[in-house]
Symmetry: C4
Subunit: 201 residues, 4 copies
């Protein structure tokens, strides 16, 4: 089985999730600038989720593109990941509408945590399938950032019980961490491309 | 007519259906953990529908990819299948919001049953078009799992009148059945790929 | 400019329109079978619109695939067509919620009529660009069914003022007319394919 | 990294944004023609936003297609652009529902302005990456229309405080300006295509 179908379907689902989240920002009925104030927290959680889902799209694309083939476990691990990402619109709305109260912030962390775990499982399934054939898949799968994210999310959930803003700070920290490009992977990808060109040419 | 256009359009529609279902989980206005309780049944039916639609995407992709060409009847059989799948968000919301009451569970079964029948009609149209030319299409079309699903859905509808949880158990049984990979089809696909490579190389 | 980008974008927009229409069927809060009755008219108009949008997708794909190139007027004629199709969810909801009252049925007809006109303009722009080079584009553009549809829609709008069901009957008549495959176009497409194979082979 | 993944994802997101905006036009419960009147302003802002997003899709596609490669800054500049475009459904709904009151018109201008700035940043990132290698990217990036749009949006925001209709007139002026095709870019694209054909043939 090729990776094309998985990639196209996942891209479609992620594109829809990132876009329908905006529907959680309910249009206020008043035209005053003040009427936007209650939406501000929803806007902030929208920004956080937009960045998070964009990071997942980016990482997902990287790891699937590095893969050469997929099997049934990979396919279901992928559906599992999409399931947790699909819950972002709900937790974004709940956290925003309740102005970052404890439980909504905790649930946001739980969904982020589970999405991170699902990504880890997907990576493991890909590594198992490719074995030592593909060093790239192994490199991406062993990726430290993914593991660190999951740990920060877990500590964020616990810290939310002290004060929800501490948890929130953890979630923003993860998003910021991903902005910094990873030279190791980029160089691996350039390497792979060079090898492929050599093989074809 | 090639299969590309049908595949891309169906993938798009199915990706949107699987994602907008999450909008049926209305964000509660309170920030307490208890306020999530009424959403739990909607969440459970969301999980069931997410898996169901993912299975349809998977099967649909398999059978269309095995096909070499389409005609007008196939195209309309496909639109017919997409129509029934498009009703999943509605029945998911109704069943969840009414905590698995009898009629909503029955209607969920009816839509699942009709989607199964529509898939069967699509398979029949593809077999008729390909005749004995393609053993793969015939193999997929004769697929036992599809027929068994339809029968279990029908019995689920009837059992819902005894107790809706019996019907629900039937629906979950079908979803579980599809998780177990089908070695027969996978081997056929590998075979086909090998033949295609031989023909090209 | 190639047609690929136009095709992919239009396919995406049409796939989303056909799917979000289902959101106009609001989930009833009661679990009785009777509570579905007020939704029945919305369901009927949903079925009509689903078929209509599916027909537009089919025709749009045919004519764009027959084209070899596009220019700015074609691109804007296409956006114009997508605009009118995008209003189907609104008129579907309005017509269904008001149980096929006069004005909603009239507006449904107006949007159907304008979409038909927009399709005609798109066809004209394609013919003007391709000139006599492509007999296929000319054949599709001269298509009688398109013109007849627009005339039936116009008469449907007028008949709605006598009784809305008369207008509705006209709209269903157009949808039914498109179900019957057009042997003339299919043979032209087969012909074109044969010529292309000859040129390549 | 190739441009294919960026193009497909952006096309998907933009197609969804242009389509879900129609959901901001809430279906009226009455069936009278008068009940459509309060929706008229929402319809007008829907038309404006539909054209605006269509223009962004068009321009985005042009500049990405002209690019040969992307890097991390381009990817994030693209996500940043999609973020501002994703706010169009919200500002469209707010402006329409409040009948073009001052603040909603100002916010519409701010989002339009920021989207214009984000497009400018994306163009700059692409130029920086391609350097003098690609004259086409440079030509598109230096594009005057983009800069003029941003200036008109800024003046539209200020004029909205005098009277919101003045601001609105500015926004419509920008949309109209983009309808006039740019012969300079079209000829460059034809040129590029010719060169590519020469290289391949």
């Amino acid at each position: 089985m090729g990776t094309g179908r998985l990639e196209a379907f996942s891209d479609g689902v992620i594109a829809i999730i990132i876009t329908i989240m905006v529907l959680e920002m309910k249009v206020p009925h008043s035209d005053s600038l003040v009427s936007l104030l209650p939406i501000l927290p929803v806007f902030i959680s929208y920004v956080l989720s937009f960045v998070n889902v964009a990071i997942y799209w980016n990482n997902h694309h990287h790891i699937i593109q590095a893969a050469e083939t997929i099997n049934a476990p990979v396919m279901w691990a992928n559906i599992h990941l999409l399931f947790w990402i699909s819950l972002f619109p709900f937790v974004t709305g709940w956290m925003g509408e309740n102005h970052f109260a404890t439980w909504p912030v905790v649930l946001y962390g739980v969904v982020s945590f589970m999405a991170g775990v699902a990504y880890y499982i997907l990576a493991k399934c890909l590594i198992k399938l490719h074995g030592k054939r593909s060093t790239l898949v192994a490199a991406l799968g062993r990726d430290k950032k993914g593991k660190i994210s999951v740990i920060i999310y877990a500590s964020g959930i616990l810290l939310s019980f002290v004060h929800p803003w501490l948890g929130l700070a953890m979630y923003f920290a993860v998003a910021t961490m991903w902005f910094i490009p990873d030279p190791r992977i980029e160089s691996k990808l350039v390497e792979k491309e060079a090898i492929q060109k050599q093989e074809n040419g």
